[in-house]
């Protein structure tokens, strides 16, 4: 078990180094999209969170390693739900965001053989992911 833990520790560190910047940006992409959809400005969000507009601007850039409390506060300020999902039984999800026509912008997450580690601010549904690196030709 000790040997296995060491191997996993190495993987955790490597994955953190590779994915941390994009993982931090991920929930903020949702926040910005919802803000645009609901026409919520930075100054509105600042008032709702009780912080400065500059702090909101920095926050939603998605570079900070924000706390879970802050994430929930953001969801509350946007009047949206928030789900944090670790270790789901399903290996594939599509994440969807309601737009004006209730057509969702879809997201797909493939964590085959990996545990899912997902933060989302809206609904999700199952889907089939495209196969990797398999191409066919179509005419323009």
């Amino acid at each position: 078990m000790t040997r296995e833990n060491e191997i996993i520790a190495g993987q955790v560190a490597e994955r953190k180094a590779l994915w941390a910047p994009s993982r931090r940006a991920e929930p903020m992409q949702d926040v910005r999209r919802i803000m645009r959809k609901k026409e919520i400005l930075n100054k509105d969000l600042a008032i709702r969170l009780g912080v400065t507009e500059a702090a909101v601007s920095r926050l939603i850039k998605g570079s900070q390693n924000i706390q879970i409390d802050t994430l929930y506060m953001l969801a509350d300020a946007l009047e949206e739900s928030l789900t944090i999902n670790i270790g789901s039984d399903s290996s594939e999800y599509t994440y969807a965001f309601d737009d004006a026509d209730s057509n969702c912008v879809e997201y797909d997450s493939v964590f085959s053989e990996e545990e899912s580690n997902v933060v989302q601010l809206n609904c999700y549904r199952k889907s089939t992911a495209p196969k990797y690196n398999s191409f066919e030709l179509e005419c323009a």
């Binding site: 997201y107 495209p130 191409f135």
Partner: protein
């Protein structure tokens, strides 16, 4: 400048998953944007419909050679794919943690064209070109190069390569074959 006359150009639609796969070399550890959600297609010029046999991939292999650079390029790709799920992808990018600006502009055949760069940090770059007209009824962005800058200015060889490639794309626009990812 000498410009090759391309008869047929093959391009591959890059899904978010494939694009990340070209950089990451590790199983995807985050959420992905589905191709069906994209308002803009993300394309690369390829040989034989193989994204691994492309100038874009070669530029990643040559220039994005450590974990820190790869993580920044992945961040830039993530913001780009999130942005292209909206019509106004430039508007979406402008609010993101990645800077998007013009790296080079030139005139060609009575038109003015721009090479854009995504800047996740001070050094790492992705150069791209949004096609002015729709391709196969879809709006399209061509990924040109990944690069790790050593100087403040965009290097001349990058500008020249992008300019020449864009001219080839514009010349070939009626003869482009799209390699589509199987589902």
């Amino acid at each position: 400048m000498y410009v090759k006359i391309a008869l047929i150009m093959k391009v591959a639609k890059l899904s978010h998953q494939t694009a990340i796969g070209l950089v990451a070399k590790l199983p995807v550890g985050k959420r992905l944007v589905l191709p069906s959600a994209q308002k803009w297609d993300v394309l690369i010029v390829v040989k034989e419909c193989d994204p691994l046999n492309s100038r874009f991939q070669k530029s990643l292999s040559q220039n994005i050679d450590d974990l820190s650079k790869r993580s920044q390029i992945i961040k830039a790709l993530d913001e780009l794919y999130s942005a292209v799920s909206e019509e106004d992808y430039q508007g979406a990018l402008s609010q993101s943690g990645v800077t998007c600006k013009i790296a080079h502009s030139f005139t060609y055949a009575n038109g003015s064209y721009k090479v854009w760069e995504l800047k996740p940090n001070n050094k790492d770059r992705i150069y791209f070109f949004p096609l002015p007209e729709k391709l196969n009824g879809r709006k399209a962005i061509f990924l040109m190069l990944g690069y790790h800058k050593k100087d403040q200015q965009t290097p001349k060889e990058i500008k020249d390569y992008c300019e020449e490639s864009i001219k080839e794309i514009l010349q070939s626009k009626d003869k482009i074959l799209i390699c589509k990812e199987r589902k």
